[in-house]
């Protein structure tokens, strides 16, 4: 079993020290949590552990002996494997082919399917994943794909797993499955490095937690330490209020949704949102929250229903006219749907206003540029310059760009889908402040989120969706996690699967 230690390692890029004299030890059979905001140096540390980067100062020890890990292959030979946030799988191939990718077993030059199947089944059994090994990867959810990736690492005799934000894309149930597997691996003596933005997961799955801030090692504590203490160490200050919602005076109705229906996805949903109000949309993954937001915005078609924005009834399904009416959508997947990663911060900010402000087909370059600079400043987007590519910024700053795009377009109603996914604690509060300023200026916000504390903390009113229908509504002051959860599962079968029959 592998014990991995970093002894005073530093990593320097140009003038900036990204990791500064960090020492920590990952013990066999223990889960070592790395905690820190984006940019604290976690991913650089992982890259040094896995041979992608070399430390500029200090060294790495394995089982007490100083070693060099010149590349990923060498790391693998030491038994170190990384499970990346973005999965390295070929989705068209089957589970077993993915497990053996790069070293398919052969017999006389031909593929040895029998051996492959037998070994693959054993590997899945080891982690307790119940799937047929010939299932294509594309048929599995993200959670199961991740488990296959873990099985693959173990099959290659990994005894130290580095899990880089494995829960970022998982539902609550899937997280619990992952944690069970991690418990099982712990009992087999596998050491793990675990990174997550969800503080509540640390006590559940971790043994010790090392806190990093601005590349510096701060402290190592037992994982059972109180969350408030961890947050304090992580951001270097007290966060008085994780959810700084400032309620505004409510005005007229800005968004009204009547009898929205979409076959198999949305069952007759009606509600309204007033000026100055944040309405939270809670529910399990797959309950139809994203579908409702996208239908309102005109991104997906729907079968029937009426959408009224500030007294103006929207024609059907045109994003451009939705924007003109005052709607904006911050989509759930910022990298795929919200931003042009290779384009500059300026171009991304101006994306929604470029066409409406153009005259005779010509872009209003000066006006746009001034407005973009002003917006970037107002939103405090941290960047080298407005011409920097959006993809090189941290998650929180990227999200601010998406918000900024709609701020430039002067939207009246902002639809938010998972607004703080992949955003670290400090930047979250800034996003929440943006939400506050929208409602303070008379705007309305409809926010779908899987982060229940966030929904309860930032909403004025909570709508709960279950299986495509609205299953409940309550003021945030009366909402509790228990109440919301019981409504969220209210239209479910006993086995937890969605049931379309017997609904209205």
């Amino acid at each position: 079993m592998t014990q991995l230690s970093l002894i005073g390692v530093s990593k320097i890029f140009g003038n900036s020290t990204v990791v500064d004299n960090v020492s920590l030890t990952v013990e066999p059979g223990k889960v070592h949590v790395l905690l820190g905001e984006n940019g604290a140096g976690k991913s650089t540390i992982i890259k040094m552990m896995s041979g992608i980067y070399q430390p500029d100062k200090g060294h790495i020890e394995i089982d007490g002996k100083e070693v060099k890990i010149p590349n990923v292959d060498a790391a693998r030979k030491f038994g170190i494997a990384v499970i990346h946030q973005e999965l390295n799988m070929v989705s068209q191939l089957s589970i077993m082919e993915n497990l053996f990718l790069g070293h398919l077993p052969t017999k006389g030059g031909f593929l040895d399917r029998k051996t492959m199947r037998r070994k693959a089944e054993a590997a899945l059994k080891l982690i307790g994943l119940d799937e047929d090994v010939s299932t294509p990867m594309s048929d599995l959810g993200v959670a199961r794909q991740q488990m296959v990736e873990i099985a693959k690492a173990l099959m290659q005799d990994a005894s130290l797993l580095i899990l880089d934000e494995p829960t970022a894309a998982l539902t609550g149930k899937e997280c619990r499955q992952l944690f069970q597997i991690m418990d099982r691996l712990k009992s087999k003596g596998v050491g793990m490095v675990f990174i997550s933005h969800h503080l509540d997961e640390i006590a559940r799955v971790g043994d010790v937690v090392s806190v990093l801030r601005d590349g510096k090692y701060i402290d190592t504590l037992p994982a059972s330490s109180p969350e408030s203490e961890l947050v304090k160490l992580m951001v270097g200050r007290n966060i008085e209020d994780q959810y700084p919602r400032k309620a505004s005076v409510l005005g007229k109705t800005l968004l009204e949704v009547r009898n929205l229906k979409s076959e198999g996805r949305i069952n007759d949903v009606s509600f309204c949102v007033k000026a100055g109000e944040v309405v939270g949309l809670a529910g399990l993954v797959g309950a139809g929250r994203t579908e409702v937001l996208r239908a309102i915005f005109g991104a997906d078609s729907y079968d029937s229903g009426t959408i009224v924005v500030d007294g103006q009834t929207l024609g059907k399904q045109s994003i451009a006219s939705s924007i003109a009416a005052g709607l904006g959508l911050v989509p759930e997947d910022r990298r795929d749907q919200g931003l042009i990663l290779e384009a500059s911060v300026a171009d991304n900010l101006g994306l929604a206003t470029m066409i409406p402000t153009s005259k005779f087909g010509l872009v209003d370059r000066k006006g746009q540029k001034d407005h973009e600079e002003e917006t970037a400043q107002k939103l405090r987007i941290r960047m080298a310059g407005i011409d920097q590519s959006a993809g090189s910024l941290s998650g929180g700053n990227q999200q601010k760009i998406v918000f900024g795009k709609w701020s430039m377009a002067n939207v009246k109603v902002l639809l938010l889908d998972e607004p703080t996914r992949g955003v670290d604690v400090g930047a979250r509060v800034e996003i929440y402040e943006l939400i506050n300023s929208i409602t303070a200026n008379g705007g309305a916000v409809l926010m779908a989120s899987s982060d229940l504390p966030e929904v309860l903390g930032m909403s004025d009113r909570v709508l709960v969706m279950s299986n495509g229908s609205l299953s409940g509504e309550m003021p945030a002051s009366e909402a509790t996690q228990e109440k919301v959860m019981s409504l969220a599962v209210s239209h479910m079968d006993a086995d937890g699967s969605a049931n379309n029959e017997g609904e209205k």
Binding site: I323, L339, I340, L341, A343, L351, A352, M354, G361
Partner: protein, 329 residues
Amino acid sequence: MSSTQVKATQMESPSSALDKVKKFASRNGALIGLVILCLVLAFATPAFLTANNILNVGIQAATVAILAFGQTFVIVAAGIDLSVGSVAAVSSMIVAYTGASMGLPAWMTIIVGILAGAVFGGLSGLANAYLKLPSFIATLAMMSVARGLTLVISDGRPITTSGLVNFFGSNLAGIPVPIMMMVIMGIIAAVILNLTSAGRSMYAVGGNMEASRLSGISVHKTQIMVFVLSGVFAAVAGLVIAGRLHSAQPQAATGYEMDAIASVVIGGASLSGGKGRISGTFVGAILLAVIRNGLNILNVSSFWQQVVIGLVIAFAVSFDTLRRQEDAH
């Protein structure tokens, strides 16, 4: 290299000046390659740096450059247009046919030809946007359809063109009209790409189609627009070709789509979309023409020329890819 370093260290802020030089060099690899190539040729043979030869290079570059400008719109929007050579041929044939066989006035034949280019391009665009055909397939089909129609219209024989068309291959005040057309079309293309919302939408759609759609940009309109423009530019290139030959040839511009794509790519555009500049495309087209011209002057066989051009494309693109990887770190 060493001389720039020495020069740079003498300046007040040596690192930033050196960085600027480096940055410029790495972002304008094709331009630097072109300058070096011209210097080498100028020293290697006195025949290269003559006014006559330079105009020659310009004329040789013109048709490919015009096709490549149109191609740039498509590639920026993450598509590809294999049909530009065929569309140039069919539209020039339509110009010649409507003049010679249908007796339309010369000015009208030109308008008809350009509209034909727009229609052929637009059909590729419609197939790409609404039938969801990948642009490679849609324009591969159009490449065959347009070339076939050229042969159908002409019955496989050249058709003589009018004096007005021949003007596009002549000289005006000592300057070849093909070069003028190249410059005019280049400016038009640069204005469209940089200053119009349609042009900026091409970058957006090429960079991230879904994010653009969710920001209110009409992806379908943009996709159709780039192919219409590519078709129009191809028709203009067709006019220049016909003007130089005083006739529309059924096999005109065969294989030119490859030179056009190569010019755009050498100029720094990314086939995955969102990147590309008209100035880069222009340099790419000139570079290809200079290589051909230089090898001709040096009496290198045209068989070897193809080998060299292939290597240049491979080198230019791998240089660019490596640079981007470096930038990403």
